[in-house]
């Protein structure tokens, strides 16, 4: 294989290990099928088609690959949830609705290296026995949609898709289905409803999960773009070798997207657990902006709980450590009360007001709540109205506790994980930066009416006695 050169200014940091992003920003690389084939593409598919589907599933299980969409569920295990003895069609959906704020990894795969995804997806479809696959792409990727559609057409014309793929007897159609700007469609059952043409309300689960009853009532596997690309890596490296790289319980590489207050924000593909937050932010990202210091980190997309940079943490052995000593892998981050999620790291420096940051997130969740179930539909606008009031100086100290209470009342009581996603930021921001919220309040505000209704109630329903 020829040596890979990257575009000037876009060279990966030496600490990086480019697998999924191998061809991102690569000199002379383009998203055409010719380029991909020339680089050795679709060979893995030909090999995979010679195997038994169960062998591929075993290989993926052996690799310990965990889903890259945010929840970190083992991919191979998810595949085995298709009921035994199933006679219905099986569907596989690629979740390319990348919409968790702070996350921007799938974008570059589908724009610059779509065939990598298609190959991974065909192999996965073959493994689970799906003959119809859907790439669900968010509407905000119009260029990627064109590229992906062309890539699918090209793959079909070369018989990587369609009937009797490469003479294996395996048939597969993959279509591109575009969303229309709704965050909730990243939730797998909402995404399924969106494909069915329904209002994309998430489905209740339990009792049924998509692997048993999904698209059109049939077993359906939904995997993230990066997860499907990682499947291709597993095929290339072999499950055992894949499992040996990176953190033991979350092997492989991770694409970390860093945004916010660092000198060099961007994407970095690193072996999971190989670097710490300190190394990521100070070395790869060049540290805080001039004259600033890091204040807070949201480690895995906007829903993950914020971490305070000056917090005193304790390592597993009891020795003191800081946020910057946490290794970048699923379990290490989880051990310190947050999550690695989708790999979107948002950094805030000491110039930032935390209530303002939370207010921005609350607006996002209030806007994106689908409105199906009560706690989320009613709770999110309430949280937004409370932080709005805090920012405008009309809140009382009690409102800080109320805000946290509202979040607690949503968390764990909703149809889908959006309930947690919207409650965690509020819970964490108040737990970690309570003083900043309280500082915006005035006790006298507790006595003031804050809405037309409250004013009218005072005027007309007030009691003289």
């Amino acid at each position: 294989m020829s040596k890979i050169n990257y575009l000037p200014g876009k060279e990966p940091h030496p600490s990086e290990t480019r697998r999924i992003f191998r061809n991102v920003d690569r000199e002379g690389y383009n998203p055409s099928i010719e380029c991909f084939i020339e680089d050795g593409g679709y060979k893995l598919l030909a090999d995979a088609l010679k195997k038994q589907p169960s062998e591929i599933i075993d290989e993926v299980k052996k690799s310990g690959l965990r889903g890259r969409g945010g929840a970190g569920f083992p991919t191979g295990v998810k595949w085995t949830f298709i009921p035994r003895g199933n006679t219905k069609p099986v569907y596989l959906i690629c979740n390319c609705d990348e919409s968790e704020p702070g996350t921007f990894k799938d974008r570059f795969v589908v724009h610059q290296d779509p065939h990598q995804l298609i190959e991974g997806m065909i192999i996965s479809c073959f493994a689970v026995g799906a003959h119809f696959g859907v790439v669900y792409m968010r509407e905000e990727f119009p260029e990627a949609a064109k590229i992906m559609q062309k890539a699918l057409d090209d793959a079909k014309s070369k018989n990587f898709l369609g009937k009797d793929i490469l003479g294996s007897g395996f048939d597969l159609e993959i279509i591109l289905h575009r969303g229309a700007g709704a965050y909730i469609c990243g939730e797998e059952t909402s995404l399924i409803n969106s494909i069915e043409g329904l209002r994309p309300y998430p489905r209740i689960k339990p009792p049924f999960f998509p692997a048993a009853i999904g698209l059109y009532g049939c077993p359906t596997i939904v995997n993230n773009v990066e997860s499907l690309c990682q499947v291709r890596q597993v095929m290339e490296m072999g499950g055992e070798v894949f499992a040996q790289t990176g953190a033991p319980r979350s092997p492989g590489t991770r694409i970390i997207g860093v945004s916010g207050d660092v000198k060099r924000p961007g994407y970095y593909e690193v072996v999971s657990g190989s670097i710490t937050f300190g190394e990521l932010l100070n070395d790869l990202c060049g540290g805080p902006k001039e004259g600033r210091s890091f204040k807070a980190i949201i480690p895995g997309g906007s829903s993950s709980k914020v971490m305070r940079c000056d917090a005193q943490l304790k390592a597993a052995n009891g020795s003191p450590m800081s946020v910057f000593d946490i290794a970048l892998d699923l379990d290490s981050i989880a051990a310190h009360g947050s999550m690695s999620g989708s790999g979107g790291v948002i950094v805030m420096d000491d110039s930032r007001s935390m209530p303002k940051v939370l207010n921005n997130l609350n607006r996002f969740y209030a806007w994106e709540s689908c409105g199906q179930c009560t706690p989320c539909r009613e709770g999110n606008p309430w949280m937004l109205k409370l932080t709005n009031r805090m920012l405008s100086g009309n809140a009382a100290p009690g409102d800080v506790d109320l805000l946290k209470d509202v979040a607690d009342q949503i968390c764990g009581k909703t149809v889908c994980a959006f309930g947690e996603a919207c409650a965690w930021p509020t819970q964490a921001f108040i737990a970690k930066f309570r003083e900043e919220f309280v500082a915006l309040t005035e006790p006298i505000n507790a006595l003031k009416p804050h809405s037309d209704e409250a004013r009218a109630a005072r005027q007309f329903l007030g009691r003289e006695d």
């Binding site: 709704a182 209002r199 309300y201 209740i204 339990p206 009792p207 209030a366 806007w367 994106e368 709540s369 689908c370 409105g371 199906q372 179930c373 009560t374 706690p375 539909r377 009613e378 709770g379 999110n380 606008p381 309430w382 109205k385 409370l386 009031r389 109320l402 209470d405 009342q409 949503i410 764990g412 009581k413 909703t414 149809v415 009416p449 804050h450 809405s451 037309d452 209704e453 409250a454």
Partner: protein, 576 residues
């Protein structure tokens, strides 16, 4: 439980095809597939629900039915389960509440509807639901039968911490000819949407918008005008959908509900009659899975206005001489006069037209009357139409089956009577419960051929105008009785209000007439209520053998196999 017992409860239950479920500390048994909410409610552990309805697809969206769930611990490979003294596995309680509507029971499951987790979840959901609710109970029709009100009082916190501007949505929206919508009161349970889509098969309602702006709506130009639209009002757990007919008429807590049946067609949908003092305010369907599920057609539901209408006949009227005007009389005088006049009629020239809208008991007495008078010609008016494929039967009479069992008329009996009247062969007629100028095929001129016409009716009609004697009976809401529907199910009518004015229960009019005509039947003379007639008839009709008023119950009993089915019920049973 003694330790000598070697059979574990799980095996004991399994042998009977059941599962052991612990609810609030007590073990119960349920059939597999029972929803947790239903299981809890049957043993008195109340689970509040907005979106869940046993007849509709599961939505699981209101989150009101959150309960605490415990399961036996997951065993490591090779590990043997442990059992307590009673033979149950220990329960591990989950920290997260689950919804009781979508999930079914399983062996050795534990449910807690009391305790902090459930209480907090319920309080939270109610606080959320009320945060943007207009709190306009004083002007809301649903007040008094509103789930939001009930649950708030049972599980809510009593005060609101919400001080922000409320979300504004549409109010007083004309959704269809019979239904009004208030989007601000709506809790978005989607029951109405699911009912119209899945049960009626007309997708006219849907949710629009998203987040806190979600609302139920129909599309402009497409109204909610199905003949089943008012069922959405029943389904609505809050005051979002209200019936235009009932709107602002009466506070529901002043109303008395009486279980009865619909008399507009052969289905005999089970209903509740809602009355206050002597007035009927509304009819609503009453669940009966063999007859009407939980629904009824709007056209039948709204057909109650005649009960309290001007047209009701409040006193017996008689014509003392040929050509003389009708004048009001007293019951004693009128019945005495009628008996005298009937005795003068020649039996072979007298006929009876009865109605298949009468109860079995009334028909039985009509038969006795015919026998007393020696009348051979007796017929009813049939009302054959088309079924709507849902609940409206092709038979427009509610008691054809009963009429056929009791009167057993010949198929051409009515034609014979009509032609007899036209030809002058029949000179006297008793029109009981039917307006013979309407559907029997007789004109006013034909009727003028008669020398004598006696009629039993509750409201003024073409026949009462011409009758020599009009005996004012009552409507279905004012009487007790039984009818047999098209499927052969005997069902009860219950008296919701007293007879209006001086009208009298039809059975007692017939009975008094029979006695005045010289019957010496002591049983008849001793009758206190139509209800007692069931026992008398049970001795005579094989199909009714062993029946009493009490044993029929509020759900009725299938007694005859007619081979006729109710389309909606068939569909419902097939989907199970």
């Amino acid at each position: 439980m003694s330790t000598t017992s070697t059979i574990l409860p799980k095996d004991e239950a399994a042998a009977q095809g059941e599962l052991n479920v612990q609810i609030n500390g007590t073990w119960h048994r349920f059939a597999p597939g029972t929803r947790i909410a239903d299981a809890c409610n049957t043993v008195g552990a109340h689970v509040p629900c907005f979106c869940y309805h046993p007849k509709l697809a599961i939505a699981g969206s209101c989150r009101m039915c959150l309960v605490e769930q415990g399961m036996p611990p997951r065993l490591a490979p090779g590990q043997e389960p442990s059992y307590d003294a009673q033979g149950y596995q220990p329960l591990q309680w989950m920290p997260r509440a689950i919804i009781a509507c979508a999930n079914t029971v399983s062996e050795n499951m534990g449910i807690r509807t009391t305790g902090n987790i459930t209480a907090e979840a319920r309080r939270g959901v109610l606080e959320f639901l009320l945060s943007n609710h207009p709190l306009d109970c004083p002007i809301c029709d649903q007040a008094g039968e509103c789930k939001l009100q009930e649950y708030s009082s049972d599980y809510g916190s009593g005060t609101s911490r919400f001080q922000e501007e409320k979300t504004k949505k549409g109010k007083n929206i004309d959704l269809g000819p019979r239904v009004n919508l208030d989007q601000e009161r709506c809790v978005l349970c989607h029951r109405c949407v699911r009912f119209m889509r899945d049960i009626v098969g007309e997708e006219v309602l849907g949710a629009v918008g998203r987040g806190s702006n979600c609302a139920i709506s129909c599309y402009p130009g497409l109204k909610l005008d199905s003949n089943y639209s008012l069922n959405t009002v029943d389904l609505c757990p809050v005051g979002a959908l209200t019936s235009k007919d009932f709107r602002f008429k009466m506070r529901v807590w002043f109303l008395k509900s009486t279980p009865s049946i619909d008399v507009n067609c052969g289905t005999g949908s089970n209903i509740s009659i809602w009355s206050r003092e002597q007035e009927i305010y509304r009819l609503t369907p009453r669940q009966n899975d063999q007859v009407n599920s939980c629904w009824m057609p709007d056209s039948h539901r709204l057909n109650y206005k005649y009960i309290n209408a001007e047209e009701r006949i409040l006193n017996p009227t008689v014509r003392t001489d040929i050509g003389a005007p009708q004048r009001e009389s007293t019951w004693d005088a009128c019945l005495k006069l009628s008996a005298e006049q009937l005795q003068k009629c020649e039996a072979s020239k007298t006929a009876i037209i009865v109605s298949a809208r009468m109860t079995n008991e009334e028909l039985y007495l009509v038969r006795a009357l015919a026998k007393q008078l020696g009348i051979k010609e007796i017929a009813s008016v049939s009302r054959k139409g088309k079924s709507d494929g849902m609940l409206i039967s092709a038979d427009g009479n509610p008691n054809t089956t009963g009429e056929q069992m009791i009167i057993a008329e010949k198929a051409t009996a009515l034609e014979g009577i009509c032609s007899g009247i036209k030809s002058g062969r029949i000179t006297a007629l008793l029109a009981l419960g039917e307006d013979i100028t309407a559907e029997a095929g007789l004109s006013a001129d034909n009727i003028k051929n008669l020398d004598y016409l006696l009629t039993l009716a509750h409201s003024k009609n073409g026949t009462t105008e011409l009758a020599d004697v009009t005996l004012p009976g009552v409507t279905f809401a004012e009487k007790y009785g039984t009818m047999i529907n098209v499927t052969g199910r005997i069902q009860r009518l219950n008296q919701a209000i007293e007879p209006i004015g001086n009208s009298r229960d039809d059975w007692s009019i017939l009975r008094d007439l029979i006695i005045l005509l010289g019957s010496e039947d002591e049983k008849l003379a001793a009758l206190k209520s139509a209800r007692d007639l069931v026992t008398i008839m049970a001795d005579e009709f094989a199909a009714m053998a062993g029946l009493t008023w009490g044993s029929i119950g509020n759900d009725g009993k299938a007694i005859i196999s007619t081979g006729v089915t109710i389309p909606l019920i068939e569909r419902e049973q097939a989907s199970k």
